[in-house]
C-alpha cells in the first residue's frame, strides 16, 4: 500500500483527481498524498520521505526532468513517474535517462485516470513486494518542540522529517539553529509554527543527516521561536517595530506591562545590525567564511538562491540587478545542460576585456564573483571556486 505520495504539477484539477484516485485505489487510512503546485518550493522538499512522486514533465518555472534528476540523486528508492502532455519517444527516453521509473501520458478522462492508476498500482506492487514496509519506519509519537530543542542545544545539523496524521513536512536545523521549515503549500516561519501545532505537537519525527543547507528562511533564534510558540497568534516579522523600539500608541509612554512579551523578546531586525564596511553596498547579509580556503580578492561577489533572490553579498552596488543577471545566466545554463543532456553546470567563467566573472552553482543557489581582468589570475578564480565549494557545506 502507498504510505506517502507526492504530486508535483502546475495543474490543480488534475492534481486533485489524481490524489483522490491514488488514495482510493492504492491507499488505506494511513496513506497520505501531498500536492505541491509550486516547482521552486518543491525543490526544497525532501524526496526520501515519499514512496511515490508524480512529476510533470513541464512545470511552470522549471524543467521537470531537471528536477527529477536532482530528486532521484537524493532518493534512489522512491518511485518517480513523469507525467507528460505530449508524449513522444524523445521525451520518454529523456525521462528514463534522468531516472524515471515510469512514463505516463496525462490522463484526460475518467477511463484514462483509471488505467493510469492501475499501471501505477502494478509499479508500486512490484516495489513493495521487494521492499516491505517496516513497522519501525513509523516511529513513536513524540513532542516535536522537544526534538527541535534537543538538536538545537546540541548544535546539530539535521533534517527532521515530521509526520502528523494528516500532513508531513521538514524542518532544517543547521548548526543548532532552525534554518528553514516547509510542508507542501507553505514554507518559512509560518510553516514551522504550523508544524509545531500539528496533532497538538505530538507527531512522528525522523532525523536524517543534513546533506545540504537550504536557503535560510527563518532568522529568529530557536530559543525565541520555541518561546513564542506559547504566545497566542503568530508573530510575523513585519509586525515587529522597524527600529527594534517598543511599539507605542501616539502620546502614550510604553510600559512593560502593556507591551506583549513577544515584542520584548523579538530579536533586532537586520536594520539594527552594524553594516560591514563596503563601498555603498546594499545587501541582505554579510558573507562569512565557513571553510579553510580564504576568499580571494574580488571586486564584488554575491549569492542567490534558486528562486533568484539575493541572499548574501559583498560590494554589491545594485543588488536587484546583480541577482537578476545571475539568475538569468543560471536559467540559461540550465537550458544548455538540458540540450547537452548533462547535469547542471558546476561553474562558469566569463572572460571580458576588463572584467572576469565566475559563477559557481550547487543545488541550493549560485555564487557570482567579479574579478578585475588586469590583475586577476587563474589561481584567483580556482581559489574562488574552491572557496564556494567549502561554503556549500
Amino acid at each position: 500500500m502507498l504510505r506517502q505520495g507526492l504530486i508535483l504539477t502546475s495543474q490543480r484539477e488534475y492534481a486533485h483527481a489524481m490524489r483522490a484516485g491514488l488514495i482510493e485505489i492504492l491507499g488505506d487510512s494511513q496513506s497520505r498524498v501531498d500536492v505541491e503546485l509550486d516547482a521552486l518550493r518543491a525543490m526544497q522538499l525532501v524526496p526520501q520521505q515519499y514512496d511515490l512522486i508524480l512529476l510533470d514533465m513541464m512545470l511552470d518555472a522549471m524543467d521537470g526532468l531537471q528536477l527529477l534528476l536532482m530528486m532521484k540523486q537524493q532518493a534512489s528508492s522512491t518511485k518517480f513517474i513523469i507525467v507528460s502532455d505530449t508524449p513522444d519517444e524523445t521525451s520518454r527516453a529523456m525521462a528514463y535517462q534522468n531516472g524515471a521509473d515510469f512514463f505516463l501520458e496525462r490522463p484526460r478522462s475518467a477511463e484514462g485516470l483509471k488505467a493510469a492508476l492501475e499501471a501505477i498500482k502494478g509499479l508500486l506492487k512490484r516495489h513493495f513486494d521487494s521492499q516491505p514496509l517496516r513497522m519501525e519506519d513509523e516511529g513513536p509519537l513524540i513532542r516535536i518542540a522537544d526534538v527541535v530543542q534537543t538538536h538545537c542545544l546540541s548544535g546539530d545539523s539535521v533534517l527532521l522529517g515530521v509526520r502528523s496524521k494528516q500532513q508531513s513536512g521538514d524542518i532544517f536545523i543547521y548548526r543548532g539553529e532552525v534554518y528553514h521549515a516547509q510542508y507542501p503549500g507553505k514554507g518559512g516561519e509560518g510553516a514551522f509554527r504550523d508544524m509545531m501545532q500539528w496533532d497538538a505537537g505530538q507527531v512522528r519525527v525522523k532525523a536524517l543527516p543534513l546533506t545540504r543547507v537550504p536557503a535560510r528562511t527563518i532568522e529568529i533564534p530557536y530559543v525565541h521561536l520555541l518561546a513564542n510558540l506559547e504566545q497566542p497568534g503568530p508573530l510575523e516579522g513585519d509586525m515587529r517595530p522597524p527600529t527594534g523600539e517598543l511599539l507605542a500608541v501616539s502620546g502614550q509612554v510604553p510600559s512593560e506591562d502593556t507591551v506583549p512579551s513577544v515584542v520584548l523578546e523579538a530579536p533586532p531586525l537586520k536594520e539594527d545590525k552594524p553594516k560591514p564596511v563596503s563601498s555603498g553596498a546594499l545587501f541582505p547579509s554579510e558573507i562569512t567564511n565557513a571553510g579553510e580556503t580564504p576568499l580571494p580578492s574580488v571586486n564584488a561577489h554575491w549569492k542567490i538562491n534558486l528562486m533568484g533572490e539575493l541572499i548574501e553579498g559583498s560590494q554589491v552596488a545594485e543588488p536587484e540587478r546583480c541577482a537578476f543577471i545571475t539568475y538569468f545566466i543560471y536559467r540559461k545554463m540550465a537550458d544548455v545542460a538540458v540540450a547537452l543532456e548533462v547535469d547542471y553546470f558546476n561553474n562558469l567563467t566569463l572572460v571580458g576585456p576588463h572584467l572576469q566573472q565566475v559563477l559557481v552553482a550547487d543545488n541550493m543557489g549560485v555564487r557570482h564573483a567579479v574579478f578585475d581582468t588586469a590583475w586577476s589570475k587563474e589561481e584567483n578564480r580556482i581559489q574562488y571556486v574552491k572557496w564556494c565549494c567549502e561554503q556549500s557545506f
Binding site: 538569468f328 545566466i329 544548455v336 547537452l340 553546470f345 567563467t349 566569463l350 571580458g352 572584467l355
Partner: protein, 115 residues
C-alpha cells in the same frame, strides 16, 4: 566552413563544435557523439544571449568556459559569430590556449579572425 570543421572535429577530446553567425544562422558544425545540430545551434544561441546580457549589464565578455562535471563547454565570440566547443575534459588556461591555437588557423583560412 565545412572543411574547417572537418579539421576541427579531429581535435583530441572534442565532442562537438559549432559556429553560428551573429544573425543566429548556423554556419557549420561537427560532433562525434549523438548531439544533433539543432541542439548545438540552441546551445550556441543561448551562449550568445548570455554574452549579450552581460554586455547590457556593462560587464562585456567575449569568452565563456562552463564546467559540467568533467566536461566543458567553451564559447567564444568574434565579429563574425560565435564558436562553441564541447570538450570531454576539464580545461585550464593552458588547455584553452592550446585549443585556440588549434582552431584559429582553420577559421582564418575562412577569413574569420579571432581577437
Amino acid at each position: 566552413m565545412n572543411k574547417a570543421f572537418e579539421q576541427i572535429a579531429l581535435i583530441p577530446g572534442l565532442i562537438a563544435a559549432a559556429f553560428v553567425s551573429n544573425e543566429g544562422k548556423p554556419g557549420a558544425w561537427c560532433a562525434n557523439s549523438v548531439i544533433s545540430p539543432e541542439s548545438l545551434s540552441f546551445v550556441a544561441e543561448t551562449c550568445r544571449v548570455i554574452l549579450s546580457a552581460n554586455r547590457a549589464e556593462q560587464r562585456p565578455a567575449h569568452t565563456g568556459i562552463a564546467a559540467f562535471g568533467n566536461r566543458t563547454l567553451v564559447f567564444r565570440e568574434s565579429e563574425a559569430g560565435l564558436f562553441v566547443a564541447y570538450l570531454d575534459s576539464p580545461v585550464n588556461e593552458a588547455v584553452l590556449d592550446w585549443l585556440w591555437a588549434q582552431v584559429k588557423p582553420h577559421f582564418e583560412s575562412e577569413g574569420i579572425k579571432w581577437e
